[in-house]
């Protein structure tokens, strides 16, 4: 078996739609203004929209985490003006639904150990992917990843690899919600945050920019945001590790950002052909 050339491959895609939900960032349009510096960033608790397209019975079963992930994905798909039915989807999150996890653990620590069936099937890490397919009728492949604090970069890498290898548009949704006490003390995520991207292999009239990603060694420090409150959000939420990239996109500013990934790696993303 021979050694492969050690050159770092580069993964390229066009960003055709963006979704954003976070504290003081109700959607991409308003988030864009804050990230571009057109408006002052004003943090306030995240407002999670009700998901569109689910039958009422299914909608009632969704919790905040599913609503957040699906809400951001719906923004991105609407902006991309793309049919979600055949769109493969990558969902990536550091945790599944923290409230459900807490409720199940409380039940299991009680005398009767009764677990609600709906809570149990909503406790899976891929619940958002499942409800996304129910809301949109999407029958293409979907996946649900976790890479702890590197979950955004892991999701972006998986999505870019799909675009590159299969030459198809791909949806990425990266998201986290808060854990209630007592888990909150062990994993202190401050609020809900989600970012979604529709990534396509070819340029279209409505693309925002072209991005090219490559792995970097951990010697490259991840980019920080100059605005203290946005930087605090980036540092506190795994999905908000995307903010340096979103800031370039908001400013339509070509350049390169280094994003947090895992111990030995960073993910460098070049932004070009901004529109």
């Amino acid at each position: 078996m021979s050694h492969a050339p050690a050159q770092a491959p580069r993964l390229t895609a066009y960003i055709q739609g963006i979704g954003l939900i976070g504290p003081g960032l109700p959607d991409w349009q308003s988030g864009c203004r804050a990230l571009a510096g057109d408006e002052a960033y004003a943090p306030r608790p995240t407002d999670i929209p009700a998901p569109q397209g689910l039958p009422p019975a299914e909608r009632r079963r969704t919790g905040a985490t599913v609503q957040l992930a699906v809400g951001a994905a719906q923004q991105a798909v609407a902006a991309a003006a793309i049919d979600p039915q055949g769109l493969p989807a990558v969902f990536s999150s550091s945790g599944a639904d923290g409230l459900i996890c807490h409720e199940i653990c409380e039940s299991l620590a009680s005398a009767d150990r009764q677990v609600s069936p709906t809570r149990f099937h909503n406790s899976v890490h891929n619940a958002a992917a499942g409800y996304w397919s129910l809301a949109t009728g999407a029958t293409a492949a979907s996946t649900a990843l976790c890479a702890y604090d590197g979950s955004f970069a892991a999701g972006l890498l998986e999505a870019l690899v799909l675009v590159t290898v299969d030459h198809i548009p791909v949806l990425l949704s990266a998201y986290e919600t808060v854990y209630p006490a007592p888990l909150h003390a062990k994993r202190p995520l401050p609020d809900a945050f989600a970012v979604a991207l529709v990534l396509t292999p070819a340029p279209a009239p409505n693309v925002r920019a072209k991005i090219t990603a490559s792995l970097r060694s951990a010697a490259a420090a991840p980019d920080r945001l100059p605005e203290p409150q946005l930087e605090a959000l980036r540092a506190a939420m795994p999905a908000a590790r995307s903010l340096p990239l979103l800031r370039l996109l908001a400013r339509r500013q070509p350049g390169e950002v280094v994003l947090d990934y895992l111990g030995e790696h960073r993910l460098a993303v070049q932004v070009r052909e901004c529109r």
Binding site: P9, F120, V124, N126, A154, L183
Partner: protein, 400 residues
């Protein structure tokens, strides 16, 4: 896809620790399912518990990862010289060029369940010793395995319920195709916990008896636990004739229901057809189908319809079975465990019969095997389906 070689693989489940014990159990059609005495569980059911997990000790530097799931991972990685083979693989390509993609559904949640019994009465706080990142978080499995194996390539956990550790083959294959890595360790680890035992029980999907997949009297699953791993890498120009290859991967979504399969097996059918297409194979190239075959009435009915539709009107009916009567349903580890069982079937020339299944429906549309058959086979398909309508099918085969 370009076929990739499974240069090494291993499995640990209730039917055996490592390949020789697993092979012996499969050949003897021995089940590892037994009445549940796990932890403080009081359910009347059978489970597939791996003996000796509680006795596993993690090294002093990795204590933050200590939980049943990572103990089972270590037990599994230590079998069949797997750790040494990963070191050789990392030597061939460089540790940064070897990815790590593992599936789990519940990771180390048992630690959290136990911690919730020991909250401080005054504050409700969890014990100081509870380590969220090292045990509870889904990624703890991959973080632990990466440290144990000394790998530094891209890594992620796939957590798509019971399709998780089949889907890792797809993630790794695409990353190799994109040139980011040259090889990957893939696999799955899921361990017994109260969340799944009581959760599946609440959905009335658990049998009191050892599960009997595809039996006309089947009445639910038996939950098991397992750790199964494979090294997959770019195939060299010449391969041994008994080398095992990954030929194809198919993935789909049901878009039907969170916990019930599409009644006609729509997503299952799509995943199987896509796996055949990705392998460049025709239906009649497949010698054996390792079914997801959980043993619930609706799962097996839907999968049966899907398999019958894919393999309809062949000159000789395709042979198929579920191995969950032996191993139990190992949830997020099932895809990798059954891929390894398929690799053993290919290498040793046998088709595993379904343990505990006595009587199957007529006119299934394929031949469901209750007894082992000895026969050389070249191409097999393995199905894994999960909650959320997540489907994955793998095509594996011999190089010949």
């Amino acid at each position: 896809m370009t076929p990739l070689v499974l240069s090494h693989f291993t499995a640990t489940s209730c039917i055996g620790r490592g390949l020789p014990a697993t092979l012996e159990s499969l050949r003897a059609q021995r089940s590892g399912l037994a009445p549940c005495t796990f932890e403080t569980v009081t359910l009347d059911t059978h489970i597939g518990e791996v003996p000796g997990v509680d006795e596993v000790r993690l090294s002093a530097t990795m204590q933050r990862f200590d939980c049943r799931n990572n103990r089972l991972a270590q037990l599994g990685l230590a079998a069949d010289g797997f750790i040494e083979e990963v070191a050789k693989c990392a030597g061939r390509w460089g540790p940064r060029r070897v990815g790590l993609f593992l599936g789990t559904s519940t990771s180390g949640i048992l630690e959290t369940e136990i911690a919730y019994r020991h909250r401080k009465p005054e504050t409700g706080a969890l014990p100081a010793s509870f380590d969220y990142a090292g045990t509870h978080n889904s990624y703890s499995l991959a973080a632990f395995a990466q440290e144990l194996l000394g790998l530094t390539g891209p890594s992620a956990v796939v957590s798509c319920a019971c399709s998780s550790s089949a889907k890792v083959f797809g993630s790794a294959q695409r990353m190799i195709a994109a040139g980011l890595i040259d090889a990957a360790v893939v696999g799955g680890v899921d361990s017994l916990c109260l969340t799944t035992l009581y959760g599946f029980h609440s959905l009335q999907l658990v049998s009191r008896h050892p599960c009997k997949p595809f039996d006309i009297a089947r009445d639910g699953i038996s939950i098991g636990e397992a750790a199964a791993f494979a090294i997959i890498e770019r195939a060299p120009a010449s391969l041994d004739s008994d080398a095992i290859l990954l030929f194809g991967v198919g993935e789909s979504s049901d878009a039907y229901h969170m916990s019930s399969p599409h009644p006609e097996g729509r997503g299952a059918r799509a995943a199987m057809l896509q796996a055949l297409d990705s392998a460049g194979l025709a239906r009649d190239d497949i010698d054996y189908v390792n079914l997801h075959g959980t043993g619930t009435p609706s799962n097996d009915r839907a999968e049966g319809k899907a398999v019958a539709a894919v393999f309809a009107d062949l000159a000789s009916a395709v042979e198929a079975s579920s191995t969950k009567g032996a191993t139990g349903h190992t949830l997020g580890a099932a895809g990798a465990l059954e891929a390894v069982i398929c690799a053993l079937a290919l290498r040793h020339g046998f088709l595993p019969g379904s343990v505990h299944t006595r009587e199957v429906e007529d006119a299934l549309g394929f031949e469901y095997l209750c007894a082992n058959r000895r026969r050389s086979i070249a191409r097999v398909l393995s199905n894994s389906f999960g909650f959320g309508g997540s489907n994955c099918a793998l095509v594996l085969g011999r190089a010949q």
